[in-house]
């Protein structure tokens, strides 16, 4: 008889969870993704309104109670960042799929909705491997440095009026200090891997950081000069009439470009550059260490567009329909405005990622030093001048 036992019906039929051939049920896709958005929104409301209200109700609003409340908010934000990462990874894959005339994840969950959860589980189950040539401690610490510094930006981001962990009056300086640290994580991770490609990636990360940090700081400065404050809440408050994007157009453009560089996003993804350096700084990482680099990247992909919205697009401002600012309903509405504006910017970033090829690292440096810094200085002078005239 035949050597292979051939089943009657060879066309194997796999029944997967919620398999959907894509074209037939687009509403399902939209429903699943809106669930993510609702989850995100509820998380925001629970973190900034729910937790304080809970502690208020319990009467623990002073002394240690305050510390515990803040700690609980941080834990909530960590969960929120996980939700954001799951959402954005799925959004990236689905959007790239749509743009590239394919479907993206389809099989796990309705319309591929929980594919990223499975991916995260897979990464959890993988061996976390440290190469023999690597410096153990630095290699282990680098993903944590990257993630923590990305995550720390959350502290000053206002989701609605008063909905922020710390509306510090040196918020901008804090931002510069913290966001620069994430490049250090990349640098240390690449340099400690004991791999030449990772080392080149780390060198590129360092060179890139030197080139975009200066215009970034100058942009922050012009925003501070124009708004008259370094507190992010006050910067948003100052945009009640007209959004900063109109008076501060030059700094806005420069900020978008620097954000792309800070994100290591496609026109400027030199440290990673998979077609040149294979995977750059994270070539030796696996398992959860790799997942933390990934998580940091996607948390930043949310936070940097969020900062664009805070600085230039009026933050959480929007029509309140007579609601009293400061109430729960107004806060929820404001955070919704903020989220929608951020989502638009995330989409633009993904769109850029889908379109553009990679720049060259020395060209970015040249661009930064020869074009962006003079322009940023110009923007700063203009901002100061306009401030003198109009305010």
């Amino acid at each position: 008889m035949s050597l292979i036992p051939i089943p009657e019906d060879r066309r194997f039929k796999i029944k997967l969870i919620g398999y959907d051939p894509g074209r037939s049920r687009p509403w399902l896709e939209r429903f699943v993704y809106s669930l993510y958005v609702v989850a995100f929104w509820l998380f925001v409301i629970a973190t900034y309104a729910g937790v304080p209200a809970l502690f208020d109700w319990l009467g623990w609003d002073g002394g240690w109670g305050y510390v515990v409340m803040r700690a609980l908010q941080v834990v909530m934000l960590f969960l929120l960042s996980a939700v954001i990462a799951l959402m954005l990874i799925l959004a990236l894959r689905k959007y790239l799929g749509k743009v590239q005339e394919r479907y993206g994840p389809m099989h796990y969950g309705p319309a591929g909705g929980i594919q990223t959860v499975f991916d995260a589980l897979k990464l959890l189950g993988k061996e976390d491997f440290v190469p023999a040539a690597a410096d153990w401690l630095t290699f282990r610490l680098a993903p944590a440095v990257t993630f923590v510094s990305s995550f720390a930006i959350f502290a000053v981001v206002p989701f609605a009026s008063g909905w922020t962990l710390a509306d510090s009056n040196v918020g901008l300086i804090y931002l510069i200090a913290v966001s620069t640290l994430s490049a250090y994580g990349v640098l240390l991770g690449g340099a400690s891997s004991g791999n030449k490609w990772a080392l080149i990636g780390a060198l590129r990360a360092g060179a890139q950081m030197v080139s975009y940090e200066v215009p970034l700081a100058l942009v922050f400065l012009s925003v501070a000069v124009w708004s008259g404050s370094m507190s992010l809440g006050k910067i948003v408050d100052a945009q009640l009439g007209v959004w900063n994007v109109i008076p501060l157009f030059i700094p806005f453009v420069l900020y978008v470009i620097s954000s792309l560089a800070e994100l290591k996003h496609i026109p400027f993804d030199f440290p990673e550059a998979e077609s040149e350096l294979i995977a750059g700084y994270n070539v030796e990482y696996s398992g959860m260490s790799f997942a933390f680099f990934f998580l940091a990247e996607f948390v930043e992909l949310f936070l940097l567009p969020a900062l664009i919205v805070v600085f230039f697009f009026g933050g959480w401002h929007g029509p309140l329909f007579g609601l009293e600012p400061g109430t729960l309903a107004a806060g929820a509405l404001q955070s919704l405005y903020f989220s929608v504006k951020t989502a638009v910017w995330v989409w633009i970033f993904l769109w850029i990622r889908a379109t553009l090829p990679r720049y060259r690292d020395d060209q970015l440096m040249e661009f930064a030093w020869k074009a962006m810094i003079p322009l940023a200085l110009l923007g700063l002078v203009l901002a100061a001048y306009m401030r003198l005239i109009w305010r």
Partner: protein
């Protein structure tokens, strides 16, 4: 084997880092290994190594009959399918004196140009992938898929069809072939502006490729490069015009050349070649008779003596073959002259002094296919 053959560390140069690019590297289009000396991002030395896909086709083909040689040649430049079969077929036809009907010549030429478009589409996608843009890769592969579908309907296989034979082609065209090709050409002409927007007009592509990896005219000729790489350096050498074969004397087309010789010029020339192929295909669609002989009279057992070098212009340049027959039904010796094989020799010329990122762009503009280089 030492890991740095041909590139030993120089004493007293502690600032040079020696990197193995390949054989497993996303930008080497297969199994090229280039040992690179890096000074920061600048390449100081580069030594290419090939042979990781070597199968010694030439020895195997000595023990096969002429008819059995043809499917083996398919496996050389696997991106451009039937183009590899043609030099062997032409050389053997010359030696055996086999007449080819006009219609068969036209069918061959149509397949040849279809595969040129397919190969250039693959190049476009992979080159943009090397430059960091993911999306054009998917677009070009979808369009190439249409070509492969057309080929499959007639020839039975998609990439390696084994379609040409001595005296013509193996099968007659599928009834819908003319309609399919005409539809595809319309579709491609609609798509080409998209590709121009994404590749040629993109300012980042400009920044990455203009003035990068300049190959001078004299150097290009002396290095024996051919195809788009040679024409981008300003030499209007095209085997289709220089030593015409098949139906090329009957169609009108131009040889696009550029004097710049840089990576961008090589990109540009390939784009223009797609337009020229479309032009050729449109002419052939009109000229080719709908019915008629597709195969000439060829003996069932070919016995050949003599030697013959025949070359065709495939997607990468001059693909030649040197066939020696000793009067038996098996070739005494077959030597393949791979186009990408010769083109790849310019790696040290172009790499040294360039940035590492430039090296990736230059390599993608050379468009190597390792099945043909290593054979």
């Amino acid at each position: 084997m030492s890991s740095t053959i041909g590139l030993e560390p120089v004493l007293g140069r502690s600032d040079e880092m020696i990197v193995n690019m390949g054989p497993q590297h996303p930008a080497t289009h297969g199994v090229l290994r280039v040992v690179i000396g890096l000074e920061g991002e600048r390449i100081t030395r580069a030594v290419p190594h090939i042979g990781y896909l070597h199968r010694n086709h030439e020895k195997i083909e000595e023990s096969r009959t002429y008819f059995q040689v043809v499917p083996f040649t398919d496996r050389m430049d696997y991106v451009s399918g039937t183009q590899n079969e043609l030099p062997v077929v032409l050389a053997v036809e010359d030696l055996a004196g086999i007449e080819v009907p006009e219609r068969a010549k036209m069918i061959r030429t149509m397949f040849f140009e279809l595969f040129r478009i397919a190969s250039h589409l693959v190049w476009m996608g992979t080159a943009m992938l090397d430059l960091g843009a993911i999306t054009p890769f998917l677009y070009t592969f979808w369009d190439r898929e249409i070509i492969l579908g057309i080929v499959e309907r007639t020839a039975g296989a998609r990439m390696l069809p084994n379609y040409y034979t001595f005296g013509g082609v193996r099968r007659d065209l599928h009834p819908h072939f003319f309609k399919d090709v005409a539809e595809f050409l319309d579709h491609l002409e609609k798509r080409m502006p998209d590709y121009e927007h994404l590749v040629l007009e993109n300012p980042i592509v400009h920044a990455r490729t203009v003035g990068v990896g300049v190959l001078s005219k004299e150097r290009a000729v002396a290095r024996g490069v051919s195809g788009p790489v040679l024409r981008a350096s300003g030499v209007a050498y095209d085997v289709r015009k220089a030593f015409p074969y098949d139906a090329y004397p009957e169609v009108e087309f131009e040889i696009p050349t550029s004097d710049a010789g840089d990576t961008y010029a090589r990109f540009w020339v390939r784009f223009q070649e797609i337009y020229q192929s479309v032009k050729i295909l449109r002419q052939l669609l009109e000229k080719t008779p709908k019915t008629g002989p597709f195969k000439g009279r060829a003996p069932a057992r070919l016995k050949i003596s003599g030697e013959r070098y025949r070359a065709v212009e495939n997607s990468r340049g001059e693909l030649g073959v040197y066939v020696v027959g000793d009067g038996g039904d098996k070739p005494y010796r077959i030597k393949h002259r791979g186009a990408a094989f010769s083109n790849l020799q310019v790696i040290p010329d172009l790499f040294i002094g360039a940035k590492f990122s430039d090296a990736i762009a230059i390599l993608s503009s050379l468009d190597p296919v390792f099945g043909e280089i290593d054979r």
